[in-house]
Structure formats: C-alpha cells, structure tokens
Symmetry: C2
Subunit: 229 residues, 2 copies
C-alpha cells in the first residue's frame, strides 16, 4: 500500500496535517524512509513518533538484545517457490553464537492468480504465518540440507522461542525445541520465532519460565559455561 500509494498519502499534506500509522517503529521498513524522502522533496515537513517494536520487545523472553544477529523474514512457501535463504542467515548468526529473530510472513489484500488475471478486485482472506508453520518450513530445510550431507547448523533439538501477540494482555511465549515449535498452537496472530545461538546462564534461567522441563533438554554446556543446542 505505501509502495504504490505514497503520492496519495502525501496529497494535501502541504496544507493540512496527515498522519500515517504503522505497526512497530516507523523505520523498521525501508518503504517508510522512501516516504520521508518524497515528503522532503515535495517541501512537506514531517515528524516521526517512535514506538515500541518487536525488534526490542522480543527481549521479554529473556534473550539479551545484544546477542541477536541479523533479523530474517520467513515467507509462506508455495508449491513452486520454496526459498531457503533464511536458513543460511540463521546459520551465519549461529556460527557467531548469535540468536536470530524470525519475522513471519503476513499476506493481506492478496489476489488469487485467477482473480489477478481476470482483473477481479476480489481479495483472499488475510493470512498470518504461525510459529508452527514457520517451524515446519524450517524443519523441511533442515531435512533438505541433511540429504545434501551438509554440516547441520540447526536440528530438531535446537532451542527456539515462539512468541505471539507480544505486548498485548494475552501475549504468549513458549521456549522449547524446534520440533516442539512445529507442534505448538500459540493462538491468534501476530507470531514471531527466535532461533537461539549461544546462551548465557541468565538467559537459560529466563527461558525456563516459558518452557516445559523437557523443553530445554537439547542444551549443552560449553567450556566457557554458556549453553548451546
């Protein structure tokens, strides 16, 4: 919407106040910088009001924000399109001992191929990827890589965290193995998932608040008394 309708949003903003509301912090998305540049180029003043963002709010699970590597996005696979690039970024983060926040796909105002081709403005119901769906896709990549005899960066026992509706009264946080994530139901959207890297004992203590006793059984202590799974 922002991408296609930036000019529409800015129309009239030179003579009256126009507000553009977003989920999270306004600069989590590239397109919002683009909107600022268009406003400035049109001589329109702007003001940003910052907000809590999932990028920080994930800290509620007890993993330390400074231990996170690059954030990745996991998109809905289709029958013919199953990108695995998110796996390689998670691997890179884990190689450095860092956690990975996975932002999960949101599909709103999507048209079916048929409606798109026929030019019918009929939209599919919105879809929000759940932690279970994301974990299933990740497990499929793990299996693919195993078949290619790659060194495993992640296994079924890697400790993950599923989060739902963070910041809302009914937020849900679950820590456990990747296999557990694929089976969990955290309820209504929005969901996010974290793949852990190297864990500090304080982080492990926090994760225990959100885990079954078996949930963290994949963790092993390293020489430096941090944990990995």
């Amino acid at each position: 919407m922002v991408e296609q309708e930036a000019d529409e949003i800015l129309k009239g903003a030179d003579v009256s106040d126009v507000a553009f509301l977003v989920v999270g912090d306004p600069f989590g998305a590239t397109t919002h910088s683009d909107l600022v540049l268009r406003a400035v180029n049109a001589g329109i003043k702007y003001r940003v009001i910052h907000n809590a963002s999932i990028l920080n709010a994930v800290g509620c699970c007890g993993l330390q924000l400074y231990n996170f590597g690059e954030t990745v996005s996991i998109v809905f696979w289709t029958d013919s399109w199953k990108p695995e690039s998110f796996y390689d970024k998670i691997k890179k983060n884990r190689d450095m001992g860092m956690h990975t926040l996975c932002l999960l796909d949101i599909k709103v105002k999507e048209q079916s191929m048929e409606n798109l081709m026929r030019g019918r403005k009929v939209y599919e119901p919105p879809r929000f990827m759940s932690v279970a769906q994301a974990a299933e896709q990740l497990l499929e990549v793990v299996q693919n890589r195993r078949e290619r005899a790659e060194e495993p960066a992640i296994t079924e026992n890697t400790v993950c965290v599923g989060l739902a509706r963070v910041g809302a009264d009914d937020q849900a946080v679950r820590a456990g193995s990747l296999r557990e994530m694929a089976a969990c139901d955290l309820g209504a959207p929005l969901h996010s998932m974290i793949i852990t890297g190297r864990l500090h004992p304080l982080e492990v203590d926090m994760l225990k608040l959100f885990s079954s006793p078996e949930g963290l059984s994949g963790l092993k202590m390293t020489d430096s008394s941090t944990y990995v799974s």
Copy 2:
C-alpha cells in the same frame, strides 16, 4: 541502582503494585531480566510495558535497522584506563558491511576516589558522553592502530552519524566524517553515534538530509552500486 537495590524495589510488591520506570525498552539491559527472575522466584507477578528504544529510533537518520551489526558501548576513558574493545567490534561489523550503533557512557551518582575511600556520600555531577567526546576517543584509537601499522578499519573520513535527544522535539541528527563528529556540538544529552558500514543509495539520500555537501565526500561507490567510506 537496580543492581544493588533489586530487593528494595521488590519489597512490598507482593501486596501492592510497584512500578519500575526505565529509559527505552525494559529489556535493553541485562539487569532488568535479573529483576524479573527475582520477582518470579519470590512469587510476585509482573507485567512489562514495552517502549520505543534508541535501538530502533536510530532509524530516523535513514540507516536501515537490518543493516546494523552488534551494538557497542563507548565508556569514558580515564588517565589510566583506555579500553579499545569497542573499536574491534566496529571493525568486525564494518568487515561485514554493517553499521554500528555506539551507546555513549552515562555517569550518574559516581563518587570521586577520595570520597569513596573516606566513605563520604558525596556524588560527582552527572556526566553524559557527547558525540564529540566519543569521536575524539575513536580518533585516538585510529591513531594508535596506525602506529601499530594495522590495516585501518576506520579513518578520519569514515561517514558517521551523531544523534542527540532522539524522539524529543529538539532532536538533532548530523551526518558527516568522523573528523566532523569530533568537532560538532549537538547540545544537551543523551547522545548516540553510528559508524556506517556499506550504504545503500536510499540510505545515502536520507543521510544527505542531515549533512553538509562536503560531509559525505568520503563515500565511494563500490561495484555493486552501494557506498563505503
């Protein structure tokens, strides 16, 4: 304060509501996880209210949040203690093309060595590191490394961003060379500084909003039409 007085904060929290206010998002600091664990262990319920954080709000300068590497802290040097570890982290981020957010030191309720030894509860005036002070310390490390004939990861011309009072009506953002940062006065605290990595053309366009024409002269285009300095 939280470190030493966690029990004091939690006192009475089992029978009445106690609020603990922080700057930024509550989980930006390790000690706040510790406070949660103490509460849970004491059977005290807790609720977190998330907030905007400098970790995201830095996006207002136009650098993309997903291009940031590990955040570093720059501490006030003393005559006898001049740690350089922040430089190595910045170098690591730049090697990967990532930007580095530098959080600048805050000294409140500090005692002079004399007052500490005499047990006098007299505190020094609060000190907040400015962008200029941080840039000066960084330039000193650059010079030290040059004398040791190290491959330079940063130079006087590396493009940086200074930010002050982000989110407030009088926030200030300045983009320019590290040398410029050492000479700039961004006014009252709190300050933060960013050392850029590889820049996308959209990021460069945004930085131009906060720069003099010469400020970005250190930038050079790479083969893949991104910029480095």
